[in-house]
Symmetry: C2
Subunit: 257 residues, 2 copies
């Protein structure tokens, strides 16, 4: 008899988010699912870990039964704490999401959803991040969750390159309108963001970030373009940030002391 799969699920929207619930419901038939997720919304935290204060863990119930562990930290904290301390044995897979909103192009480096999967990868576990590309309140996560289940089995079958996770974005359209799956590159689109200067009731100034992604990419194999074409985007993401092409160029600078 095969040992049952063990999957760790985390996210950045918080333990009781709809996207996580939809993902867990699709994974439970194929695996023992352990949930370790932030106790509050943690968007745009990047790959933050908590070092200057301790973390608290609470066991959370849902419908009267144990559901998972809520941590007062970041997504990366959750995955590290789960694998280092809370789980008796390492999981076979880490899945982060399903995020409510896309994580494409430059947003990848700000994403808490991606960072949870990156932390799983750092700790040697095959990992992927799932995002549904809409901010609508009543988003339907069901197709994205089904796709996550299929991808989980594919990842376990094929394995992933060392130091590499998958960043998956699913278009927010009915399943019948999904046009396919594309292996993509991280886009170069950036935010045209700025801070809106406002005044509080006491007439003191404050600044609030606003902006939108400016589409700079035209190629079909770019994450953001795949979504616009109603295709599921899968980008292999690594945490070796070295620009190897730049190394030789830098060696021609006379920098010796």
């Amino acid at each position: 008899m095969n040992k049952k799969l063990s999957i760790l699920v985390s996210n950045d929207d918080g333990i009781f988010s709809d996207g996580l619930a939809a993902l867990v419901a699709e994974l439970q038939p194929i695996a023992d699912v352990t949930i370790v997720a932030p106790d509050s919304q943690q968007s745009a935290v990047g790959h933050a870990i908590t070092v200057h204060r301790p973390l608290r863990v609470r066991e959370m119930k849902k419908d009267g039964k144990f559901f998972g562990y809520a941590v007062d930290g970041t997504p990366a904290d959750c995955v590290k704490l789960a694998i280092r301390n809370l789980m008796k044995t390492k999981p076979d897979l880490v899945i982060s999401g399903i995020n409510h909103g896309s994580n494409t192009a430059i947003s990848v480096i700000y994403s808490g959803t991606v960072s949870a999967a990156t932390e799983g990868t750092i700790l040697g576990i095959p990992s992927f991040a799932m995002s549904l590309t809409t901010f609508e309140a009543n988003a339907d996560f069901s197709y994205a969750a089904k796709f996550a289940q299929r991808l989980a089995l594919k990842v376990l079958e094929h394995g992933l390159a060392s130091g590499t996770m998958l960043n998956v974005n699913v278009p927010a359209v009915p399943e019948s309108e999904i046009k396919g799956v594309v292996i993509t590159r991280q886009g170069k689109s950036v935010w045209n963001d700025e801070f809106e200067a406002r005044r509080d009731p006491g007439n003191k100034q404050y600044f609030w970030l606003k902006g939108e992604l400016v589409e700079l990419d035209e190629e079909e194999d770019i994450d953001q373009r795949a979504i616009l074409n109603n295709k599921v985007s899968i980008t292999p993401i690594q945490f070796d940030l070295t620009n190897y092409a730049m190394i030789e160029r830098l060696r021609t600078w006379s920098l010796s002391i």
Copy 2:
């Protein structure tokens, strides 16, 4: 007459840290220096930006004179706010640091110091991050600051590849013991970290992260090895995280819907 250089300085140790002061003192003879930095310690925040609450900015004095802007946000927030709102014209250069402690190997992705320089790069400004590889309380930042001044002029002379910043680590030894400068790759060393489970005075459990970097790299052109050899390490870092080598492999998986 040449227009005077304009340099934006930020960090993750906070606006009144010794490393920032040493850096600014070396830059002021060659440039107009604008300081926009966190109002408190922000280590290990990764590339976080603040989206769910507003930011406050305070003008800070030092020795009775205006010194810089303190922001109640992350290093990336500081650089974004500086370039988008606080500065009348874009700076010629962004320098982050000098961090009190190294930012090598896997620490690069957790580093607030690196994230400030990355944000400068995203906004189209040549940027680099400076770290002194010691946690000693009375660290001497003077050689690292002098090196930063020289590197600033080199970066302005040569320019940097698009989407690429420099991550610089300086050994914490007297200048006479510095053995040279090496262009390096990001190391693969990881932390053997774990959470220490403790009990608070009310007997409730809490977890505190501890650990050390495990040296996995032997090659001389790795960031962490350069430091051990008393050499200044300069790593070109990019924010395109795509693992290009993995793309073809993923295309062989049958993932079509």
